[in-house]
């Protein structure tokens, strides 16, 4: 198979996803991230629908991106001259060399949604494409609902495709716009259009309503498509669309199509994670290729197999996409696993020194108490950092109390008071709030704010740490009758996120431990990055 070009439409179709929204700043940042993947077409906005996108195009032109910027719009309205059509005027204001327009390829949509004649719709397609070609643009035309149309009135859908070719479209994209097609239907559509128009580049745009958007893109390419649209992270209307972070490795590593360079492919995991974390919607944990838990092996037999040959349980080498292997066991007692985890955090536990012995004993004690770190590696890094002298604990809690009126005559009340040593400072602070977790978080930040002027370059940092999520599960420890709470807390400082864990019979104790560890971790690692010597507080 030959050349395939990719168009990413995260900033346009992705913005149709419930819960997803972008400021112009977000879009600029994301464009720069996407460009690290060497994606040839970057669809950055829809000027008619979202006029603020014009600012994005203006700023993006200054960025010196490798990819081509693409603006999105539609065919002209019925009975309207292209040069008077407000949608096309907005599109052209984006001043991109490449434009992407869509037209209806399903008679039902033409009649029920556009409310015009089938003949006028064909003219709209042909004339709009021709108009944009006359202006010197590269034109990508998407035949929206091509496959739905084929199921109902195949002849008409093919006429729409022919009208776009007649208008001079450079790339003719067949849309599975409701995500309702199976792979053989997609392949058949691509082949029909390629047979009718052997010289035009045919492409595919597919939604994920049946979980098949990646598979359908593969079927399209196998049938001769040379252009695929999608989004990093799979964002798009409803269930989303073809996820490029899944498709790109398959095209390159399994189908031998050089869509991006080896180096760009190695950027896939960090770029996808950065984008998904930035959008704040969706869960990457189990995401093919780029997820946190996907090159993770859990049972003894799987781990033994992977240690003898990774290919036994891995579809591609994780490092090819910038990801990494993780070997998990329930708990961390097994020495080799423990060692490899510590090694990843910069601690060599292989030697038999007294120091190593002490570390292993402490980790074993924690494991007995139920600690596992798959989703809370910051806690493990903190434990190891303290045991090895990398971190110098500078915060000691003397007393912490929580009081709550859960039901009463008046409004519910939550109060916390804290006496804490911060270096040589002895602070007493109180806080009130709407719940115990935020109140405990506030009382700790309150104490740090008291000494912020001591923190040098970290002065503002402490105020910028945010709680991103709290998760609690309960379990019965082996052989015990008493329910334990396992709490993980995720923090964000704007640039990175980290998670910590607390375990206790007491939900609040466990939460406090995760909160305290998370703040310590944020401060100590930030101090390290800023080159601040201990003690942290002057």
């Amino acid at each position: 198979m030959g050349r395939v070009t990719i168009l990413d439409t995260l900033l346009r179709d992705g913005a149709l996803s419930e819960g997803v929204s972008f400021t112009p700043e977000d879009k600029i940042e994301i464009l720069q991230l996407l460009d690290r993947l060497e994606i040839p077409y970057l669809e950055a906005g829809w000027p008619y629908q979202w006029p603020e996108d014009l600012e994005v195009f203006e700023r993006a032109r200054e960025l010196d991106l490798k990819g081509r910027l693409v603006a999105f719009g539609s065919t002209r309205r019925p009975e309207t001259d292209p040069d008077r059509d407000p949608n096309l005027r907005a599109l052209l204001k984006a001043e991109t060399d490449t434009v992407h327009i869509y037209g209806k390829a399903w008679s039902l949509h033409v009649e029920k949604v556009l409310r015009t004649t089938l003949e006028e719709n064909l003219a709209m397609v042909r004339e709009t494409v021709a108009y944009l070609k006359e202006l010197g643009k590269e034109v990508i035309f998407t035949a929206e609902h091509f496959y739905d149309g084929c199921r109902h009135d195949r002849g008409y859908s093919l006429e729409v495709a022919a009208a776009a070719v007649k208008g001079g479209a450079d790339i003719l994209v067949l849309g599975d716009s409701v995500g309702a097609s199976l792979m053989h239907e997609v392949a058949k559509g691509i082949r029909s259009v390629k047979e009718a128009h052997p010289d035009v580049v045919v492409g595919f745009h597919g939604h994920n309503d049946m979980g098949l958007a990646v598979a359908n893109a593969i079927a399209a390419v196998e049938a001769g498509a040379e252009h695929v649209q999608g989004t990093i992270g799979g964002y798009g209307a409803r269930t989303g669309m073809t996820d490029l972070s899944t498709l790109i490795p398959i095209l390159k590593l399994k189908m031998g199509i050089d869509v991006v360079s080896d180096e760009a492919l190695r950027n896939l995991t960090p770029v996808t994670r950065a984008i998904v974390n930035k959008i704040g919607v969706g869960d990457l944990d189990y995401h093919p290729f780029v997820g946190y838990k996907v090159f993770a092996h859990r049972t003894h037999s799987h781990i033994a197999a992977v240690l003898s040959d990774p290919e036994t349980y891995e579809p591609i080498p994780p490092e090819a996409v910038g990801n990494e292997r993780r070997l998990l066991l329930p708990g961390i007692a097994r020495a080799s696993y423990l060692e490899s985890l510590a090694q990843r955090l910069g601690v060599d536990l292989t030697g038999d020194s007294a120091a190593n012995q002490r570390i292993r004993e402490e980790l074993l004690r924690l494991e007995e108490a139920g600690y596992t770190y798959e989703d809370a590696e910051a806690s493990l890094e903190l434990v190891l950092g303290k045991l090895t002298g990398r971190f110098h604990p500078a915060m000691t809690v003397e007393r912490l109390r929580l009081f709550e009126v859960i039901r009463g005559k008046h409004q519910p009340v939550v109060e916390a008071s804290l006496r804490i040593q911060l270096g040589s400072h002895d602070e007493y602070v109180a806080a009130e709030g709407t719940g115990p977790v935020t109140t405990l978080f506030e009382v700790l930040l309150g104490a740090l704010r008291e000494v912020r002027s001591e923190l040098g370059p970290l002065e503002d940092y402490v105020c910028g740490i945010k709680l991103a999520a709290v998760r609690v599960r309960t379990f019965y420890p082996r052989g015990k009758q008493e329910l334990r709470a396992r709490v993980t807390v995720t923090f964000s400082d704007g640039a990175r996120t980290w998670s910590t864990i607390g375990i206790s019979r007491d939900l609040i104790q466990a939460t406090w431990q995760a909160l305290f560890d998370g703040i310590e971790y944020g401060l100590y690692t930030k101090a390290e990055a800023e080159g601040i010597e201990p003690p942290l507080f002057k």
Copy 2:
């Protein structure tokens, strides 16, 4: 295409997923949920790997499930008699009519992982299947790594399949165990095996490492497979495996294969949501067919199109899978879903009476606050029961306070005090404990113990209610900046289990609500069953 049987392995392969774990109690609950989907094979455990699964099989036999229970294991060890093999012994202790065993179908695994000869591996497969057949079992054999094997040494993989057929396997499953295969490879494998063994039922088991587990299952069925394995929710080792909640609607609605009844299909959304919420791992929002945001339409043009004809932007009718359309414009209520839930609890909300109007308003108010009941139906039953006069609330909290020393000179302390009306009795009680959840639970039970002599036949019942599990997730409500806690609590009285929900900005408030509702639910339904007339407390 003809008949296709489904095997769900959530309780076995799903348990290999990082972060997923089940107690025997969980497994029993999930088996009952899965059985509402009429899945013919329910793989409930792996007795050799997890001996506690034997308890699950023992209890599951009493459940009168429609689906067949399946126990999982492997071929015998090299150079070991089947009747002396500890894995097969454990497997047989499960006493299921159907067993599922796997054997290696990739020469690399045989040599590097099993460390035996290719010839001995063939004998292991053939003899193990034959041994189980002699014992009268229905035998499902999975050729693990069949497709990886085909890529390296096709002849050997086919020999393994032949050995299983020779041993007498009833169903021969080809495993894409690393999820590294494309659809055409899967189809080719199925066809080759069907050609060689036209009389055996051929099946498919596929992992999702490349995001293709559903597509590959479809390709397998199109190529002639008559058995598919997967899990509701897509849980499984690493990225998971074929998601049955995606596959089942495609097989039934798009491919015309009657895998489950129309009624079972309508249970798909509530059952999948209940399971995913129970597991507490993974995000259903954008999940095909059963997600919260998948029949959601956001732009005016999409909404206008869907209002004129839903087919314009929907791959299937949402009600066919028990889901519902959501138009993301203000003022459009989602009544139909709640109506169907209420109906299952014996309340007919379809009429336009004033009483129904009041109930709908209350349910919508709760829904706005974030309440969903898939995993906490006792709460909905309680709300409906109070609104319809089925239950007569007999417990009113006057005042509740919680005090906790989280860190201090002495041992941590948790104390709660409660003033409560129980019928005509006014009680004041205090409790201390090891954590806030158990302390709040204790203080409420303490108050009930004060009036237990008033409870007639329920006198001992109140003391027998146990906390089985507590789960907390946090979320940001639509358009709000403030984290909310969603707490579900599961209770058990020895004979049955039930779950309730609380939502609040305050984790403890939310927990209290779920605790209080759970005790009310337990008491009121038990009183109903015992024929005790209100008022509950004399």
